[in-house]
């Protein structure tokens, strides 16, 4: 056994060395006008060697280590617990939910501006991921161009405000509806497609939108983007130091408090929070309605679904439209948060990240998707200290996650439906 593992372990250690050597060991340094390759310090070399040894030893004694881990009884006890009775669990969940929302409401007043800003971004990703969850997780339609609808929402707001001076509150529903319309339009040509083919068509659609935005310079400003997107107002009160628009008042003057740039950030966070909660709530209801069930039925077995009278057209289009609607929501908030948007914010990588959130969270599971959105958005920020290794850590975390829990962070749990005894 050990002899068999030996070669494998040696191979793994070698790979570790090959990967770590150039990444950790070699550095490009500017010397005058030239760039030279400099070796790292002795300490780094030792660390690399140590890592290789650890990998080697782990692979060599892998079976024993795994058995050892399995014997950790605390974990077993946690896993083997009796599941809570339904009513009790439901009550606990509700209390937990209320507490969580309360904390989310109060929390921004006590932390730094940067943290609130990041939290707003997290909320935007939560909205996006929940929307994509409808298309991918529930309806089982692999959509690689989801970011297009996000872009439609954002650009709708930017263009409306730029050309017609629309406010955030006016643009929010229009952006979402327009994105939904785009979802509907994309839905038609891809009705007959499934799986890989669908993925490729949606990928193309996403790129078309981005390239269109990039090249239609006369309207969208092309790669220069659109700036000066207004902040949201609260009943006609602006959050800037000075009132920009005729007829509006300013928030700090109305309430007689000192101006602080933080007000705006917190207000935007609260809007995003309300919208995210709204999104989660609506989709949660949809999942339990006939339309939600038909999405899942179509994912599970299209032929059986049709044989029971479900129209493929209706079900697929509704999934695309509703998913796109919430992406439009998120896009409007994003445009308002940034104040400036350009096609660069809507590249394919963005679609991939949202998809990764849905897969990591557990297809179809709302709580899982929310947790994954938080993790995926915050992790790169936390790893900022490692600067250039950031994406490396991010990637490693994803690989580990998929190996450890291929079904996702919190796989979807089916609702328990109580039937009347005796029917």
């Amino acid at each position: 056994m050990v002899a068999q593992n030996f070669r494998h372990a040696l191979f793994c250690a070698l790979i570790t060395l090959i990967i770590a050597w150039p990444i950790m060991g070699l550095k490009l340094t500017a010397v005058g006008t030239e760039i030279t390759v400099v070796g790292a310090s002795a300490f780094t070399w030792i660390a690399v060697a140590l890592a290789a040894v650890i990998v080697f030893l782990f692979q060599l004694f892998r079976d024993k280590v795994m058995v050892g881990l399995g014997a950790v009884t605390i974990l077993d006890r946690l896993a083997d617990r009796e599941p809570l009775p339904d009513e009790k669990r439901l009550r606990l969940e509700n209390i937990g939910l209320v507490l969580l929302i309360a904390v989310a409401l109060i929390w921004p007043f006590f932390v730094s501006r940067g943290a609130v800003d990041l939290a707003t971004l997290v909320l935007i990703y939560i909205m996006l991921a929940l929307g994509l969850n409808v298309v991918v997780g529930l309806a089982g339609l692999l959509d690689l161009g989801y970011v297009a609808f996000y872009a439609v929402g954002a650009y709708t707001f930017a263009l409306l405000s730029n050309y017609w001076g629309a406010s955030f509150w006016m643009a929010l529903p229009i952006g979402a509806l327009l994105a939904a319309l785009f979802g509907l339009v994309l839905g038609f040509p891809v009705l007959r497609l499934r799986g890989d083919y669908l993925a490729i068509v949606t990928l193309g659609f996403g790129e078309i939108i981005r390239i269109l935005l990039n090249n239609w310079t006369s309207v969208t400003g092309g790669p220069n983007g659109i700036g000066g997107i207004p902040d949201p107002t609260l009943f006609g009160m602006e959050f800037g130091r000075r009132v920009k628009e005729e007829g509006n008042t300013s928030f700090h003057e109305t309430f007689g408090i000192a101006y602080s740039s933080e007000h705006k950030v917190i207000f935007l966070y609260l809007i995003a929070l309300v919208l995210a909660i709204f999104t989660a709530f609506v989709i949660r209801r949809l999942m339990r309605m006939p339309v939600g069930r038909s999405w899942e039925a179509l994912r599970e077995d299209e032929i059986a679904a049709r044989s029971l009278g479900l129209s493929r057209t209706g079900v697929k289009l509704s999934a695309f439209t509703i998913g796109a609607f919430f992406a439009g929501f998120a896009g409007t908030v994003f445009a308002s948060k940034q104040g400036f948007i350009s096609p660069e914010s809507f590249v394919f990588l963005e679609s991939a990240i949202i998809l990764a959130i849905v897969v990591l969270g557990g297809m179809g599971s709302q709580l899982g998707v929310i947790l994954a959105a938080i993790a995926v958005t915050i992790l790169p920020e936390l790893a900022r200290e490692f600067s250039e290794y950031r994406m490396l850590i991010f990637g490693a975390a994803m690989v580990l996650m998929m190996v450890w829990r291929p079904q996702g962070l919190l796989p979807m749990r089916r609702r328990h439906i109580k039937l009347k005894a005796g029917g």
Partner: protein, 251 residues
């Protein structure tokens, strides 16, 4: 009620079904039998709208329905099961039955979001119907299990229940006894007769289990190599020389 006239189905050079006719009256169990590859399932696929037949007519109450999309035919009350069970595996047993009742539910998005009384009443009615049929096929205990985790015989019964909650006029069963043990086959036998007697459903049955077919069929159609061979009561078919030669007595 349902009349199939000179149905033909051609796949490229292969004539899978050739001039098959068949009629089903209200309150009747009609079987289609024939050797493997005779084209029985193809006839089914044409009747349920999965294939657009290349020739012939299918009439329901005198109206032509051939070539209509499958989901429309199902809404007319012609519902089928599959040779290989097709359930929504990762959905629970009840959810499987709820999906099937889509047509009976209030599918308006807004009324669902605010849960209007009408929406809730219809949802409750669907649940009751699901619950009734689960009890009828003996799956009430398993209502909240994932359908994919049921035993094979249970999956077969769930598939029939899923058809029945749609309140069909005609039920098409494609080899419902395949893979069942003798005891389960006897139960199925009872169930199919009861569907006809108690729920006023006509049944078209494809089956290889001869004892089942002979027991419960009112009439039998024999197909061989895509062509109709014989038709009649079980007694007549059993004594038909052609049939014995082509199908029953080859050994």
């Amino acid at each position: 009620m349902l009349e199939v006239q000179n149905l033909s189905m051609r796949f490229g050079g292969l004539l899978a079904v050739d001039q098959v006719s068949l009629d089903v009256r209200e309150h009747e169990i009609v079987s289609i039998i024939g050797p493997n590859g005779a084209g029985k399932t193809t006839v089914f696929n044409c009747m349920s709208g999965f294939y657009r037949p290349t020739g012939g007519k299918i009439l329901l109450d005198g109206k032509e329905i051939q070539g209509k999309p499958d989901y429309r035919i199902s809404r007319l009350g012609l519902v089928r099961t599959f040779q290989h069970v097709r359930l929504f595996n990762r959905m629970t047993v009840v959810e499987n039955l709820m999906v099937a009742q889509h047509r009976h539910l209030n599918t308006n998005l807004l009324s669902g979001l605010v849960a209007t009384p009408n929406y809730r009443a219809r949802e409750q009615k669907a649940l009751d119907r699901a619950s009734y049929w689960l009890e009828r096929v003996g799956l009430q205990e398993l209502a909240n299990r994932d359908a994919g985790n049921l035993a094979y015989g249970q999956q077969r019964r769930l598939e029939i229940a899923r058809c029945m909650v749609t309140e069909p006029r005609l039920l098409m069963l494609d080899e419902p006894a395949a893979g069942l043990n003798p005891a389960e086959t006897r139960e199925l036998n009872q169930l199919i007769i009861s569907l006809k007697e108690d729920y006023n459903v006509s049944v078209v049955l494809i089956e290889h289990d001869m004892s089942l077919v002979m027991d419960i069929s009112d009439r039998i159609n024999v197909i061989s190599q895509g062509r109709p061979l014989a038709t009649g009561t079980p007694e007549e078919v059993r004594n038909n020389d052609e049939v014995i030669k082509a199908y029953l007595g080859e050994a």
